[in-house]
């Protein structure tokens, strides 16, 4: 999409200091506001995800556990018991159908909040998100799974949770089981699984849901090196089928390899968007770690 092209200048990363705070970073954030104008989709590039001036603020309780007893005890006292977190501030971008968009940024940048908002889990405080297509999320592994049940039963449960019908799950079951490479373990309770086996099955269920839009948050680290390779190949296959993907990862290698375009977020704001190489280079300079082998590694 032209609106997301790398040539759109938003920030000269070279000028940004190493620390994420300070005047340089503030300048970066200031520049980002200017660069986040909403761009309407055009007839030639069908839009799958359109985020327009998205703000997400939420209040977190400072109590260890909000209780009625606590509320009654503090009644009438002007104690500040909440803090407002501005997780996403004024984000606008479009993702075209078939595009793989990577999202990078330091911890606390608002990446996961953005993913949850696009998935319809977190409500926007301001702005609007418009989605065309069936969304499948891989935000956490094994959502809806019950570890007392067998892998086979959990495939059904996970599939139904993702909105598939029983027939569709039956149809896909062999493919999922083969992909997860669990062998006889598929009929054992999942509490007997190693964490790698658990992740493999969860990943297998998520990628076989036939989504139009796949939202993945740090899930590629499922399993061992062999499975990672297989997972990567499966993702590439999905991309090949013109699936839209939103991918959050700290593994810059994965992002570089898979994404057409990358968004760099910092403290809830969009700092830069563009092609993977340019944005990653800017981001790594910002972090002052350089494109070392370490930063390209999936953790």
């Amino acid at each position: 999409m032209s609106s997301l092209s790398a040539s759109e200048p938003s920030l000269h990363a070279g000028t940004v200091g190493a620390a994420p705070t300070g005047s340089e970073a503030q300048r970066a954030e200031g520049a980002a506001v200017e660069s986040t104008e909403a761009t309407p989709p055009t007839a030639t590039s069908p839009v799958a995800i359109s985020v327009r001036d998205l703000h997400i603020h939420y209040r977190v309780s400072l109590d260890r556990r909000p209780t009625l007893k606590g509320a009654l005890v503090n009644l009438g006292k002007s104690v500040e018991r909440y803090r407002t977190i501005r997780a996403v501030e004024g984000l606008s971008f479009d993702v075209a159908h078939g595009q793989v968009m990577g999202v990078i940024g330091a911890n606390g940048a608002g990446k996961s909040t953005l993913m949850r908002a696009v998935a319809g889990i977190l409500p926007p405080t301001q702005g609007e998100i418009e989605i065309w297509g069936k969304v499948s999320t891989l935000l956490a592994l094994g959502v809806g799974f019950n570890s007392a049940l067998t892998g086979r039963e959990n495939v059904t449960l996970g599939g139904l949770a993702a909105g598939l019908t029983r027939d569709e799950i039956r149809e896909k079951f062999d493919e999922i089981a083969d992909f997860a490479e669990l062998g006889d373990f598929i009929d054992m309770p999942m509490k007997t699984y190693s964490s790698g086996m658990y992740s493999r099955l969860a990943f297998a269920v998520a990628v076989h849901m036939d989504p139009d839009i796949l939202i993945i948050d740090e899930a590629l680290s499922a399993g061992d090196a062999h499975f990672k390779k297989k997972a990567g190949a499966k993702m590439n296959e999905l991309v090949g089928k013109a699936r839209t993907m939103l991918l959050v990862s700290h593994g810059l290698g994965t992002i570089k390899e898979m994404c057409d375009e990358v968004i760099w977020m910092h403290k809830g704001k969009l700092i830069r968007r563009g092609d993977a190489d340019t944005v990653i280079a800017a981001y790594t300079r910002f972090l002052n770690v350089g494109e070392s082998a370490l930063s390209l590694e999936d953790f």
Partner: protein, 288 residues
């Protein structure tokens, strides 16, 4: 639908279209909410069945406990009432029928209350109508209630209670009671998100409610012995519901007034509890 969708219409992937806008406290569009709820019913049923299976595999007594537990409780209350009442007017069949029904209602309320906070993993990672959680826990409570009704059927016959068409009144009473309990469950589930000790207070209220309702005693006996408190007792929503339940099981046609009042409580609690729940459910993910 905005103009965007018009521009991209015709594309094969446009099966679904969502717009997420700020609405923290408002109600979601009810039509699509109910449709989505219906679409996900298989998941709710499977979740319930998986919980039943998981519970049954963890203990070999499993299913037997579902029956033994309320039966033992009935035995305890029978002994208690026998001692307190010096052996007068204590009817084991009446105690079991009331207690089994009450156990179902209180389980529905309590499990509904905890359903949202214990479903945190689902809520944080999946977009779905959250009413699915209390509905699923209600279905689980119902599945656990059914075997106790079989036990009651045996007791009903053993104690020579009448087998007449009035027994059929038990079915609408069950529906009314369930609506009432689900409504309260949804109300408390919302409260539980804001105040995590709600579920700790509830068992005490429910225990007091048990003693204040015609579960272990009958409405008729109460009317005779405490006539001046009758008006007050009738304010209890469970008074008409258990009144009709007892009438149905003892071969009496239920009072239409009690039936009407009970229905109003049931439907009222369901609608209000449901609306309150739905109006707040978009905030659940933020609060969990």
């Amino acid at each position: 639908m905005s103009s965007h969708s018009v521009r991209v219409a015709g594309d094969e992937y446009l099966g679904e279209h969502h717009i997420y806008r700020p609405h923290r406290a408002g109600l979601p569009p009810l039509g699509s909410y109910v449709r989505e709820l219906w679409r996900r019913r298989h998941f709710a049923l499977e979740m319930t069945q998986s919980q039943m299976r998981a519970a049954n595999t963890s203990t070999s007594l499993g299913r037997l406990w579902l029956v033994l537990n309320p039966l033992l409780l009935s035995g305890v209350y029978y002994i208690l009432l026998f001692i307190v009442g010096s052996g007068k007017n204590v009817d084991f069949a009446q105690i079991t029928s009331g207690l089994f029904f009450f156990t179902f209602l209180s389980t529905t309320i309590l499990s509904g209350t905890g359903s949202v906070t214990s479903g945190g993993n689902l809520i944080l990672n999946m977009s779905f109508p959250k009413a699915l959680l209390p509905f699923s826990s209600t279905y689980l409570a119902f599945r656990r209630f059914l075997p106790t009704m079989l036990v009651y059927a045996v007791i009903h016959v053993l104690f020579h209670r009448p087998i007449t068409f009035t027994l059929l009144w038990a079915i609408p009473t069950l529906v009314i009671g369930t609506l009432f309990a689900v409504g309260l469950g949804m109300l408390f589930a919302t409260m539980q998100v804001y105040f995590r000790d709600t579920v700790n207070f509830l068992p005490y209220f429910i225990r007091i409610w048990l003693y204040l309702s015609p579960v272990l005693w009958t409405a008729e006996a109460f009317a005779q012995s405490h006539e001046k408190y009758l008006r007050l007792a009738e304010l209890n929503p469970l008074f008409p519901i258990f009144g009709v339940w007892d009438d149905a099981l003892t071969g009496h046609a239920p009072s239409l007034v009690q039936l009407l009042v009970g229905t109003l409580w049931g439907v009222g609690a369901f609608v209000l509890g449901g609306l309150f729940f739905m109006s707040r459910e978009r905030e659940f993910a933020v609060r969990l």
